[in-house]
């Protein structure tokens, strides 16, 4: 019976981990679009890393460096005004391995275009390594290559 309840707890934990990681992806998108870049940086592990741009040319490691990087994107890679850009995060695929996980997902970056119409500006992927740190799932590494446009 003890074995049964252990097995049940393990199965529950797996589902809870998947749910917590999906929530992390949404917290990421929401803090990014809300221009809450401190909250965004806190979603990374202490030695977490963010990588983007052609050949991974845009990168930062550690929360302070990640904050500075993303804060610097305002008005260039991100819109100046909150509400003028939205990341749509879909196609989550998550593989759990104890206190680690790997995942891929799709991001669609929509901005307010001329004439106040939605403009699908970019489409890309997230390639993630996740870790459970102090009981919470965090990004150990998030790579965000852009697929359209390629350059």
């Amino acid at each position: 019976m003890a074995d049964d309840s252990d097995a049940l707890a393990t199965r529950l934990q797996r589902l809870e981990d998947l749910e917590a990681i999906r929530r992390l992806f949404q917290d990421y998108r929401r803090s990014l679009d809300g221009k809450d870049f401190r909250g965004y940086a806190d979603l990374f592990a202490v030695d977490g890393e963010f990588i983007a741009g052609p050949d991974g040319s845009i990168r930062a490691k550690g929360r302070e460096a990640i904050f500075a990087l993303v804060d610097g994107m305002r008005g260039s890679l991100l819109t100046e005004q909150t509400g003028d850009d939205v990341h749509v995060a879909v196609n989550d695929r998550i593989d759990l391995d104890g206190d680690s996980a790997s995942a891929t997902s799709t991001w669609v970056y929509v901005v307010r275009g001329d004439g106040d119409v939605p403009d699908v500006s970019k489409v890309g992927r997230y390639i993630d390594t996740l870790t459970r740190e102090d009981g919470s799932w965090k990004f150990l590494r998030r790579e965000a290559p852009c697929d359209i446009p390629l350059v």
């Binding site: 589902l15 749910e19 929401r30 509400g83 939205v86 749509v88 995060a89 929509v110 106040d116 939605p118």
Partner: protein
């Protein structure tokens, strides 16, 4: 709380989240099919829908208001409206919940081309009524464009 009760509570939480996410998809499916009766049944007896199209309280009133105000979705030569549901964040609190979820409205454009017509988000209050999760309040907020009626 006994160990068994704790496991049951964790399971209930995951089931609640799954049912609420399913509710979001049913809403979108009935809306695109313009089946406003089935759509209205997703609301609590005193559930409220509010947005640029109008406001109404109660399933019957919501159905009548939307049938009067919502643009039709002509069946031939094919459907014209697809609400893509994305970016759900659900916060549970017993028999109540709050949520935010995005929609991307894709329409059949000129020359039979898909166009992203609108992007917005719902602010939801949900309640468990007669054992099922329903919308207590759904507020539809168009984000891009800001200046057109939500359809």
């Amino acid at each position: 709380m006994s160990a068994e009760d704790a496991v049951l509570a964790r399971l209930q939480r995951l089931e609640d989240l799954a049912e609420i996410n399913q509710l979001f998809l049913e809403y979108s499916r009935h809306l695109d099919a313009r089946d406003m009766y089935s759509y209205s049944q997703l609301f609590c007896e005193d559930g409220e829908w509010t947005g640029r199209t109008g406001s109404a309280v109660g399933p019957k009133q919501i159905q009548e208001m939307l049938e009067a105000n919502l643009s039709p979705n002509p069946p031939a030569p094919g459907a014209t409206s697809w609400h893509i549901v994305a970016n759900p964040t659900v916060t549970l609190d017993g028999d109540r919940a709050t949520a935010q979820v995005a929609w991307v409205l894709i329409r059949r454009g000129e020359d039979d081309q898909p166009t992203v017509a609108m992007l917005g988000h719902y602010d939801d209050v949900l309640a468990r009524e007669h054992g099922r999760w329903r919308f207590k309040r759904r507020q539809a907020n168009p984000d891009i464009p800001h200046n057109r009626v939500s359809r």
